[in-house]
Subunit: 243 residues, 2 copies
DNA sequence: CACTATCCGGAGGCCTGCCTCCGAATTAAT
DNA sequence: ATTAATTCGGAGGCAGGCCTCCGGATAGTG
């Protein structure tokens, strides 16, 4: 059913070796977390995940001291796919096809997993690994954008923040329609691409700066369970990092 | 500052006359609710609203037995604006201008009030009044759409569910960017209109049926604090209707 | 002023979710 | 088999939100 790698690789990441039962539990928790996050989003109850993994809540906290850690571990593979998407799109020769293929790929990733939808419309300031991936992906995306613009197929006032706007929009549509009105996301994405590919229109209202965008996404992450530790004391919601 | 009608009209809606202090409190609660919902969305804590109105929590519950009631009362004026929007757009002669003006108006309504943003992307099955407004508005919108299509300015595969898709998308963008990256909503709307006005593209993936859409929005309303009373006993979250 | 219907509001019960503590159980090495 | 380290997991503390109860305050009337 589920590919159960995951405990294999953590053996070689500097972590101490786990006892057999601990390792088994870790895998069960990860599998449960993948399912629950995919279905209910990143705000799902950690106790639900522990229950689905048939494990005490303490065991979950022992292995993943904070929600971020669990999220990062549970979505690692899909985050990798997200990062790859830009790279493999760059391999496509036609600029517009490359761009649209990228957009389709990442939006499909959102459509298939509410956790990913949530994740891709916020920022995990804690996780260095994810952030690095995001940055290199961003460079690739810039290239995709430039090429498509140069080919005259992408509107000139397009900026990379517009991709984020689409991710936010798509996350919401996925959230609302995933179970009851599937396919809505695909339609939204097609519409967005039609807008992006339009070159005969007066220029758009100015986009937010990337700093504004980042700040907004970050404060969203904070508002959800995944707060940053900007003030490492107590957070406003009893949500302080256990470090 | 705030226009404080509101208690006036409930005098003539069959409700028993309120004592002076009760009436004052009712107004204070409504004013507070307007502010808090606008800033934090419809899931805001009712205790916060009571506190901001300088009123005990019991007083709030006495006046507005459920969250829906409070929401309906607090957003009544803006809901009226929403309903008017379609009607006054119909008065514009140019079909495309009429359509875009409608879209701009309602999306701006969302941008200015997180509560409205939330409300417009769900369904309040309890409130008959709101639902009636929504239905007549829907008729008007259909006319707007037909006219714009007939004029060849709106894509032929456009359906009214696409407006809802935009409302959902815009609600999310508003939610994320309202404080930190304002103006994002305007850009999203402009993009959407560019997509809607495109007539040279292959047809879109099929839209959700309106029944699917309604069901999705309704289950969203349930997931938020505003559950329907489909099973009038206990709800899954201790959130049973006080009726 | 007195009196009654009405209203107020905090205390407190209930729930859910987060997180920690510690005695009991399990592993694995000798 | 013994033993020591490791892990388990439920109990329980804490906080926030929802909602109700009821003793006390208040408005409005005669």
């Amino acid at each position: 059913m589920h590919d159960q790698t995951g405990s294999q690789d953590q053996v070689r990441t500097g972590e101490r070796q786990l006892r057999a039962d601990a390792c088994r539990n870790r895998d069960a928790i990860l599998a449960a977390a993948k399912e629950v996050f995919a279905e209910h989003g990143l705000e799902a109850s950690l106790e639900d995940i522990a229950a689905k993994a048939k494990v005490g809540i303490a065991t979950l906290y022992r292995r993943f001291p904070s929600r971020q850690h669990l999220v990062a571990a549970a979505l690692a593979e899909k985050v990798a796919k997200y990062a790859e998407a830009a790279e493999s799109a760059l391999a496509i020769s036609d600029p517009w096809t490359a761009f649209t293929s990228y957009v389709h790929t990442i939006c499909e990733l959102q459509a298939g997993d509410r956790g990913m939808a949530d994740l891709m419309s916020m920022t995990l300031p804690a996780d260095e690994h994810v952030e690095r991936l995001r940055r290199t992906a961003h460079n690739h995306v810039s290239k995709l954008i430039d090429r498509a613009k140069a080919a005259g197929q992408l509107r000139n006032d397009f900026v990379s923040e517009d991709v984020i706007l689409l991710l936010i929009a798509n996350a919401a549509v996925v959230h609302v329609t995933r179970s009851r009105a599937p396919g809505s996301s695909r339609r939204l994405v097609a519409l967005a691409l039609d807008a992006f590919g339009r070159t005969d229109t007066p220029s758009l209202p100015p986009p937010p700066s990337s700093a504004e965008m980042a700040s907004a996404m970050c404060s969203l992450a904070a508002e959800r369970g995944c707060g940053a530790d900007n003030a490492p004391g107590l957070s406003h919601k009893g949500q302080l990092l256990p470090l």
